[in-house]
Symmetry: C3
Subunit: 267 residues, 3 copies
């Protein structure tokens, strides 16, 4: 499904085309998300005014909707952005932060999923929650391993038409039919807030330069996993991991990706 | 009141039980606050929708209400969260950012204090302002040393039933009767935004695992002071201090705390 | 116009007087902006409640209005703050994030410019957009070099009475009559979100201690350029650049500024 060559091509395409990724995200992770996209070579923008959001979503190269610190006002803006991106044919991704753990969050995430997102990325609890199963999540943490959510992810992909990614110790990407497993990343990444959110933003960037959603999502998770691993090798703790992760996204080259990526076959 | 052994036990309990700390805080410090809690081993969540906040506050292990960038809408959400946490018997802490310097902020902070928080942590100007005295604060800075606010802190503790902490060169914690003085920390910490806010969030985490509020608050300030000092030893300036502080919170172990803590007796 | 001696005096004045800079800015850059001001030696505050903003803007030493993630509610608060700062005779600066690329943003930026700000700082696309010319911007990026916006900047300065700065590979500062060119900084700074926003915040700090707006703006851009260059020499990528930049702002001394600054003559 993805190969070292396709992955290298995706990275080169992000750097060359510098896709404009429109993020509707929380204040907690907005800075880190923007910096992750910039470090990789994409162009982030956080436009969230009801006046501006539809036109902007239609003109950007991809839209990423992150449910962290959702409010009714933010939900309304997200609906406008999603409608505009869909109509304009732009790829868009959902990060269902807190789905499964907070009832109103689960409902809104399910509403978005019915609008046919290009991709959905969450941890096991979020994907289980979205699929209507109990996932053991509490707050924004997951209580389950990604393996436990593969079946739910396939079902969610079938039901929504989206490519669904469950990230964890192993990352799984599925379009309902095939499943790609990616085995990069590092446990220390769970000690930094917004690592998953940044991954979804990078999914947006890769979708913008990819003709195939399954490939785009898998490329993004391979990139974030390899960068996270590079960072974890030199980090002394979560503070330096965050810094090293941004440096690694910028330092990443095609050869490095080719050598370091683990996984990518269909499961 | 607190001993090296009780401190070590508190750190171990945070790591083992991973308390879910619900933060209502400003966009300025949300990322750093979440990362400080994660680095220490607690689980942060920032849920602020009127739809979600009451149920979430009732289910989290502690609530922390931070008045930075307060707005009427945020104040309303804080009232809902505080009511729910109180009813559910959860510990909750107030960080009265800007009290004493901004009149409406002082009033709202006083309103919250009448709702019987478990703990209040502020700098000298904020505690003086809350107690109705002129504190010389300007914006979010303090114009006074923590020593100058000990009497006000005791009075505030008596009036509210809260454990009150005044942080500064020396940190004081009081329940009205006794006063614990803690002498860790470093002046460079005042050059990083959100250091006090992160300390209050860690107060929330320690209250969640402690049977005694006075101990919980003192443990939290000892942890943040020791981590700040460890960070200041290796930092080259405020940017690296922020990074090293998160690394230190994660690296902190019980033995290190035992050796480094200064203070803890009643004054 | 500015000399090594005037620059050194400006830095010393910021450190000695610690001006309180009131920032109305986006959640994306709020933390970095506050930390940049603290690192330099100024006092940041982010007060944005309709209840508090007018009184606070009137009492702070400078106001900085940043249009990132503008919403109608934030625009209303900005109008209140600007009116109060103007009436109180405080210097205020506009950062027209996204002007030229987003129509409603351009209009609001132009509205603010008619209120006679002390200074305006933007990239080439934003300044061209404000001046009513097509600037090739997309999102918050610039599509043009700063040289291309010098004429527009002079025109904008003439029309508004503001000192206008266009930042880029070379930074230009103009009051309509003279133009100062500053040649510090580093290309890697464009890979960190909020570098321009932090520069505008530092413009606020320098305006607060300067009797002359042209000098204040030029001093601020010299300081940010020199600090950025110092940081880029030791950074390994955008993550470490952000950290090193804050450390450099704190480490900067008058002698270093004198040696490193390039430019400052009138063009």
């Amino acid at each position: 499904m993805i190969t070292p060559a396709s992955l290298a091509a995706a990275l080169a395409a992000v750097r060359a085309r510098r896709p404009l990724v429109h993020n509707l995200t929380s204040a907690v992770v907005a800075n880190f998300t923007a910096n992750a996209l910039l470090a990789l070579g994409a162009a982030p923008a956080m436009v969230e005014s009801p006046d501006e959001v539809a036109a902007f979503a239609a003109s950007a190269d991809a839209l990423v909707v992150n449910l962290g610190t959702l409010t009714p006002g933010r939900a309304a803006v997200m609906r406008m952005a999603v409608a505009a991106a869909s109509t304009a044919g732009r790829p868009w991704a959902v990060d269902p932060v807190g789905a499964g753990a907070i009832a109103s969050r689960t409902e809104f995430a399910q509403e978005l999923c019915r609008l046919r997102p290009t991709a959905i990325r969450g941890n096991a609890s979020e994907i289980l929650g979205l699929a209507g199963e109990a996932g053991g999540g509490r707050g924004v943490d997951t209580g389950a391993s990604s393996d436990a959510a593969i079946v739910a992810a396939r079902r969610l992909a079938d039901a929504t038409g989206a490519v669904v990614a469950v990230t964890g110790q192993v990352d799984y990407v599925t379009d309902g039919a095939g499943v790609v497993a990616l085995r990069n990343g590092h446990a220390m990444m769970t000690s930094v807030t917004g690592m998953g959110c940044a991954a979804t933003a990078i999914v947006g960037a890769c979708l913008a330069v990819s003709g195939d959603a399954m490939e785009g999502v898998a490329h993004a998770l391979a990139i974030t996993g390899v960068a996270g691993e590079m960072a974890a090798r030199v980090a002394r703790g979560p503070g330096s991991l965050m810094v090293e992760y941004l440096d690694a996204l910028a330092a990443l080259d095609c050869e490095r990706l080719r050598v370091e990526v683990r996984g990518g076959g269909t499961g």
